[in-house]
Every structure is written in C-alpha cells, then in structure tokens.
C-alpha cells in the first residue's frame, strides 16, 4: 500500500483541483452576500491594486486595516469558501513565520511581523477573488486590462483542457491503481500515463484547430467584455477606495 502512495497523492491532487474548478464553475456562483454580483473587472482590478499596496506598504497599521477588511469579507463567505480561503492564508502565514524565525532570532522582528501578515492578506485577497468569481469572468475581465486576445484565448483553452485532460489522467491513475498489485515499476507506469496525456493533448489540439478552421477562423480571436456599473459595484469601489485612501494617509 505504501508503494502506491504516489498514485494516491496524484489522485488526490487531481481530484481536488477538478472539484475546485467545478465548484467555481457552478451556476450558483457568484454566491453569498459577499459577492453581490460585482463586475469581475472591478474585482480583478481592485484585488490587484490591493495586493500591490500591501506589498508596497511599510506600515503595519495599513496592513492590519487591509487584513481586517479581508477578514470581514471572509467572514461572510459561504462556509466551504470560508474554510478554503482561511486555511490557505493561514498556511502561508505559518510557513512564512517558520521561514522568518531564524531572521527574527537575529533581531529582525520587523520581517517576522510584516511579511507573514502581508502574506496572509495577499493570499486571502487572491483566494477571495478566485472563489467568488467564475474563472471565465476572471479571464474575460483581463480583456479590459489590454491583455492581448491571444493570451486570453490561451488561458480559456487551457482551463477547459485542464478539466478534460485532468479527467483523463484521473481515470488512468485509477486504472493503474487497480492493476498494480505487486508494486514496482511505479515511475515507468506513471510516465506512461503522463506520456499518453501528452499525446492525447497533441491530438486534441489538432482537432480543435480543424474545428476552428471549419467555422471560418481567421486567426483573430475576439473576446468581449463590457464595463457596467451597478449599486453593488459602486459600494465595492467605495470600500476599496477607502482602503487606498488609508494607504496614502498612513504613509
């Protein structure tokens, strides 16, 4: 059984990833009062801005203010997202504390307080964005940041095929687990799985290319995004603007 640990780990990580994508893509998103249908463009823009300000800040009070704001959002997330975001952020917080402990022993307490708090805040901000927004919307919002259509297309396709190839890999890992009685040959059979996924992906890429040609693809992919403003958007912008004002005030 120990010999199969790597298969189990592979299955677990694939499974976790797929279920996360599915949860994120469910029609129920955006859900919860924390994400009152705010335009993804604003969410992406302000999350990015907040992360930049947190990174720039040298003021612990500002970092704590941002942290309080993020914690408040976390507090109102649906419980599955709450746990996921909180645990991801706490994990980074403690890893940073551990990493910085030697520096703290030599007297550098600033890093020990500042960096883990910043870590917690940035990881929380990124996770809040990712669990309250559909990935299509996040990618679509990038369009408004003048990201070229090619990259948007690459990200879109990649997400779709992560699901398809991920399901294929998962099935192959299950099949491998069922067939492996004696153990041994782990790496060789695993590379068979990965190699097959590679070949399959090459095949799918070719077929998708053909399908696009048949539908008159001219080499330019246009993605569309609209910028609108609702009351929820305005409230979100005001909340974020006050955090930004605080940054400059405290500097």
């Amino acid at each position: 059984m120990i010999k199969d640990a790597f298969i189990d780990k592979g299955i677990l990580s694939l499974f976790g990833m797929l279920s996360k994508i599915r949860a994120q893509d469910s029609p129920a998103i955006p859900r919860g009062p924390a994400s009152l249908n705010i335009n993804p463009f604003y969410k992406v823009a302000f999350t990015l801005a907040l992360i930049i300000l947190i990174a720039l800040s040298r003021n612990l009070l500002f970092v704590f203010s941002a942290l309080s704001y993020l914690l408040l959002i976390i507090a109102f997330l649906p419980s599955i997202d709450l746990k996921r975001t909180l645990f991801a952020s706490l994990a980074m917080f403690f890893i940073s504390c551990l990493l910085l402990a030697p520096a703290a022993l030599s007297g550098n307490l600033y890093s020990l307080f500042m960096i883990p708090s910043k870590m917690f805040a940035t990881v929380a901000a990124a996770n809040i964005l990712s669990c309250t927004t559909k990935w299509q919307s996040i990618i679509g919002a990038l369009k408004l940041f003048f990201i070229p259509d090619v990259f948007i297309f690459i990200l879109d396709t990649a997400m779709k095929y992560i699901v398809m190839l991920g399901e294929l890999s998962l099935e192959m890992l299950y099949a491998m687990k069922l067939r492996r009685f004696g153990g041994g040959g782990g790496l060789a059979s695993l590379s068979g799985v990965a190699g097959t996924v590679f070949l399959k992906s090459a095949e799918m890429a070719e077929e998708m290319n053909s399908a696009m040609l048949c539908r008159g693809f001219r080499g330019v992919y246009h993605s569309r995004a609209k910028l609108t403003m609702t009351a929820a958007d305005a409230a979100y912008i005001i909340a974020n603007a006050s955090i930004f004002a605080l940054f400059f005030y405290l500097r």
Binding site: I74, A75, L86, V123, A194
Partner: protein, 333 residues
C-alpha cells in the same frame, strides 16, 4: 519554487515582469511561425498539459513523493518557445484562478520557470544530443537538460531572494522583503533542489520522453529548421541586464524612500517602534490595543480594531458552528 508575493520587492517583480514580456512576445511569434499557421489551440492545450504535470506525484526513495515542473520535458517534446508559453499560462492560471503563487511575483516566476528553465534545459539537451548523436545521447541529454534546467531556475530564484536584503532596506538598515542574504538563500534553495527536486525532474523527463518517443515518434518536436540564436542572445543580455537593472532600481528606490517618507512619517508608523513595542502592542486577536500613532485620530484605530475583532469572531463562530454541525449526526447515532 513558486515565489509568493511579499518576498520580492514590487520593484524586483516589475523588473522581472518587464524582462519576461518580450520573451513571451517572441515566443508567440516563434510558435506561430514554427508549428503551423494557426497553432493557437496547441498553446492553450500545452498549458493545460504543463499545469497537470505539476499534479503528478512521482515516487521518491524512502516512501516520499515529489512533483516535477516539466519545463524541460515540454521544451524537448514541443519546442522551447511552446514550453515557455505553456508554462507561463499554467503559472498565470495558478496565480489568478487558484490563488496559488504570487500575483505580483508572476513575472518573476515566469522569468525563472517559464523562460530560464525550459531554454536552459533545451540548450543542454540539444548540445548533448548533438555531441553524442546516438539514442543514448538523447536520453543522457534529457536527464542532464532537465537537471540543469531546474537547477538554473532554482539558482536564479535563490539569487532573487538573496539580493533583496542588499538592495531594499529601510532607513535604519532593516530589510523590507526577504531578509536572508545570498550566503543563506543560495544554500537553502540549492541543497533540496540539487538533491531531490532535480532528480525527480530528470527521471520524470527521461521516462516520459522515452515513452512518447516509443509510442509516437512523429509527435516530438524536430527542432528549428533555421537555428535561431536570437533567444539565447536575449537570454544572456537579460542575465547581464537584470542584476544591473535591479541595482539601479534599488538605489532609486532607496532614494525615494529616504526623501519621500520622512523620519516623522516613520515615527508614526511601525518602523518607529522598538521590537519590544511590537511584541507588547500586537497580540492576537485584538492587535491594536493602545495604539494611537501620531497624526492619526484614535477613532480610526478603534474602527479598524473593531472591524478586525468582529470579523475574527464571526469566522470563529462560523467555524465552530460548522464543526458542531458536522459532529451532530454522529452524536445522534
């Protein structure tokens, strides 16, 4: 290997991001020329493959497991430019859609893992393949390429960490970001990479490469028809320019810091605190008890403390509620 946010200064992130941008642009152009006229699906699907590679756990001696990056592998199988784009897109997806890895440090991560790793790996692979020629040469090339590619990326990461305390310091000389100098960061990064991660990477690379080669030899990247040295020239220029740029950025940053943020502003912020004050002043979960910095109304501090306290209590309450709910069916039974 993924650099999280806040360990590198925003200036370093911006600089490495700026260095990665032309590389990506060249790669898009190259892939479009090389693969076929319309190769866009291939780019996205390559990214999906690269993303999944990082989910495959490989058995390590002693019952542990580790995962590979697969950058060199994709470079050997689909060409270094495709690999560059595929790994970049995979990193972007991890950062933006999964909240894994830094968002600001995405540029740095792309530079290390999507640019230096596959190109260094591919360069070593093709040099060895050319020198030895035979089938054995390819296998040896794949092993060495993967090992050196990952090692190079790890070294670069270590250097990026290590120069932070040299360049980005506050007025009192305390490091603002990663506090460890090169003498600590290089051995700390390199030891586990050279001993474990690189080994996993090379084993995985050579096994998959031989598998694909055996099953479907036609699907392996044949190499550029016209060998272009341009990207290697760019690589060397960037390797020279980036540290220079960092130094320049760093001094500019330092000046800005000294001029703009006056000592009085500092005195109101945390940097004016003595370590003792920090220890006393910030104890979880009410972090801002007696804290009223000069120039800031008390009320603001109270409001922030209140928000923090309320948020933490709600979270604790809800977590507790969740655990109780999860347990209650059991207690009924």
């Amino acid at each position: 290997m993924h650099i999280p946010d806040n360990y590198l200064s925003p200036a370093t992130c911006a600089l490495l991001g700026a260095a990665a941008a032309p590389v990506l642009a060249i790669s898009v152009k190259k892939v479009k020329e090389e693969v076929s006229t319309e190769s866009m699906p291939m780019l996205g699907i390559g990214a999906a493959f690269s993303f999944l590679m990082m989910m495959f756990n490989v058995p390590l001696p002693g019952g542990t497991t580790g995962h590979a990056v697969g950058g060199t592998l994709i470079a050997i199988m689909a060409g270094p430019y495709s690999a560059c784009l595929a790994v970049s897109a995979a990193l972007a997806i991890q950062a933006l859609l999964f909240g894994d890895g830094g968002i600001l440090s995405l540029g740095a991560n792309i530079f290390n893992m999507a640019f230096v790793l596959p190109f260094a790996g591919y360069f070593v692979f093709s040099a060895i393949k050319k020198a030895l020629g035979s089938k054995k040469g390819e296998a040896i090339g794949a092993v060495c390429g993967a090992y050196i590619g990952l090692a190079a990326a790890a070294l670069l990461t270590a250097i990026e960490f290590g120069i932070q305390p040299l360049i980005f310091k506050d007025a009192s000389g305390l490091p603002l970001y990663c506090p460890y100098p090169l003498s600590v960061s290089i051995p700390a990064m390199m030891a586990p990479h050279l001993l474990a991660a690189c080994v996993v990477e090379s084993a995985f690379t050579v096994f998959i490469y031989s598998f694909v080669k055996k099953v479907s030899p036609g699907s392996i990247y044949a190499g550029e028809k016209k060998r272009s040295k341009a990207i290697y020239a760019l690589l060397s220029v960037l390797i020279i320019l980036v540290p220079l740029g960092l130094l320049a950025e760093g001094t500019a940053w330092g000046e800005w810091g000294a001029d703009e943020i006056s000592v009085t502003a500092y005195s109101g912020s945390v940097l004016g605190f003595t370590p003792k004050g920090m220890l006393n002043g910030f104890s979880f979960p009410s972090p801002l008890p007696d804290y009223a910095p000069s120039g800031m109304p008390d009320a603001l501090g109270y409001i922030i403390s209140a928000v923090f306290g309320v948020a933490v209590s709600i979270i604790l309450f809800r977590l507790l509620g969740g655990f109780l709910k999860a347990k209650s069916p059991g207690s009924h039974a």
